[in-house]
Amino acid sequence: MSARTLTINQTLVSAREGESVLEAARDAGITIPTLCHLDGLSEVGACRLCLVEVAGSSRLLPACRTTVSEGMQVQTDTPRLQEYRRAIVELLFAERNHVCAVCVASGHCDLQDLALHVGMTHVRYEYLAPSCAVDTSHPRFGIDHNRCVLCTRCVRACDEVEGVHTWDIAGRGVAARVITDLNVPWGEATSCTSCGKCLLACPTGAIFPRGSTVAEVQRDHSSITRIMTARGERW
């Protein structure tokens, strides 16, 4: 596989052909914030947090879905990108009811970490305060739509790692919700193997073990990577 040389933030970076800008940046020790990305899963470019500026492109491009090319010039942290990222995180907080004080994932939450990273001090947008369901029909897990950011990490973990595809998305825009099977309560979703990989993948307090209380849910997101690595070695 041949190498590609590109410039990220004025630094010359060497990358493998076919690698994403996100991977190349990480290998070079440059942090680009992400939310829908999870090591081991496919990339969907849904959250738009990894948007970067590429010379010659009038559009901003998601680093996770942009392949490196020879001589590419990438900027990952301009004032414009910083402002957009902060706006994206604030909009995520405004769209559902992210009440950290009563959330199972508080203190171990990717959304909180992102808010810190982008320097969010408050949410400048009006909170939508939607009425969201909490489904605890599954014997072991629950899904709290108040906390869901629609990253689809659960959908991809279930489909790509467990090979089941119990999870999917129904509806559009702010009305979109993650669903189990054909939008039946999780406990009635017969395809679910109760493996818990969606729980490991979830960045917030949306998917949680039943019976957990405030700030109690800590999970190891790298478990998904370990499973995928082990599978690669075996096959």
Partner: protein, 177 residues
């Protein structure tokens, strides 16, 4: 040195942020050597004074009294701090917002979860009128500094007051949760 005119305000919150402030224990005595507490739920002052230097505002804006006081605070204070999650985000106080308007909320609380003969009490002129939406402080008046937390720890409140007393701009990163 000019003494700091400090106000602390309790809007729609549980007073937990004030408990955190009181958790500063003996440091409050040190604070008292450089600051005057000119308005606070723990003092017996009825009217928000003019020319306040620093106001720590706990709680969300949930009723018309909060709304009026928020505007008074902003008008008469140099530095307004949103203290704690309710002031910064609405938090637990705003949990009623998904239920809808005040009418919907009162219906839910008094009728749907009340006894069969329950009625919504007529409180006109007795208690402040609830706003249709519980709002974070910055949705009503400009806020200078945000200190989230439920409650923010005593150490962080102390850190902020010390920074401001030293005439510096707070640079501590804001962490939610």
């Amino acid at each position: 040195m000019e003494r700091l005119k400090l106000a602390t305000v309790w809007l729609g919150g549980c007073s937990g942020c004030h408990m955190s402030l009181l958790d500063l224990d003996e440091w409050l005595l040190e604070l008292a050597t450089v600051a005057d507490l000119v308005y606070s739920p723990i003092s017996d002052v009825k009217i928000f004074p003019s020319d306040v230097d620093l106001a720590l505002v706990e709680g969300a804006v949930a009723n018309d009294e909060h709304l009026e006081l928020a505007h008074t605070i902003r008008r008469q204070t140099k530095t307004v701090v949103a203290l704690g999650d309710c002031a910064v985000t609405g938090n637990v106080t705003a949990l009623r917002n998904p239920l809808g308007s005040v009418r919907d909320v009162l219906q839910e609380v008094y009728i749907n979860h009340g006894s069969p003969r329950a009625v919504v009490p007529d409180t006109s002129g007795i208690v402040p009128v609830l706003l249709d939406r519980v709002l974070p402080l910055h949705a009503v008046v400009p806020v200078d500094i945000f200190l989230p937390g439920c409650p923010p720890s005593a150490a962080r409140i102390k850190g902020l007051i010390e920074t401001l007393l030293a005439g510096k701009v707070p640079t501590e990163p804001v962490r939610f949760g």
